[in-house]
Symmetry: C2
Subunit: 122 residues, 2 copies
DNA sequence: TGCGTACTTGCGTCATAATGCAAGTATACG
DNA sequence: CGTATACTTGCATTATGACGCAAGTACGCA
């Protein structure tokens, strides 16, 4: 019996070697961007606002310094979940709704497809 | 016109005051658990393995000390995404697939329902 | 061209967190 | 009982990150 083991018999080390959809989806950088309460609060405001918002506007949601808000928004943009729009001396950020939805759905699907119970159903 | 503003006219501060499904879903603690590369690697192994794994087994996936792995797994368990099973002197962890799928799907749905384009369609 | 507005960046401080080693605990086994 | 196994915990070290203040930049406007 030299064939591929059933997944339930694999060691975690063996499992780590086999490539699955989940491998490219669990990005620590993305999760890190959402791991700070202040940042999540700002992000939540933007999501619910539903339009591009000025840095100064967003800063009103929180009691932290404007410079802190500026850096948080930059970080969320670098994480790929906010889009920045610079016009003259103003800077606006808006949520990349499509990217976010697709990302979270893909993660959910990938996890589901790795679930042993789901394998039975398939 | 003292009625509720259309969402596209809200300031982020006003938006922060109105309660949406997304409010209780973006949990910084959850994301923090997935914000460390080593932890994500261990978590990925468990997801792909599809069964309960011993701490020692999981440690083979990574080049870090066993004590570090032990602590990472404890943290993921406290975040609610791993389940711990203690039997005799062994300790196993397994992924809470259902919880994870539902969580990520809920986030995706909540974000989608806050998307202005989605509002048009509704 | 001088001033105000709207951010951004440099820097120091404080807090949190990742890691390894060594020691400790708890259970199984002979 | 004594010893090996399977972790867990204490502790020191080092790294990362959040924050505020102050200074800097970039643009618009009179």
């Amino acid at each position: 019996m030299t064939q591929v083991r059933k997944r339930s018999q694999m060691t975690p080390k063996q499992a780590s070697a086999c490539c699955r959809p989940i491998d490219n989806l669990l990005d620590p950088e993305l999760f890190r961007a959402l791991s700070d309460p202040t940042r999540v609060r700002l992000f939540g405001c933007l999501i619910k606002c539903g339009r591009a918002c000025l840095v100064g506007e967003v800063a009103e949601c929180c009691s932290v310094d404007l410079s802190v808000v500026s850096r948080h928004l930059q970080l969320l943009e670098r994480a790929g979940i906010l889009e920045v729009v610079k016009e003259g001396r103003t800077v606006s950020y808006c949520v990349k709704y499509g990217v976010l939805c697709e990302m979270f759905r893909s993660i959910a699907n990938a996890i589901e497809s790795s679930c042993p119970v789901h394998q039975h159903a398939a």
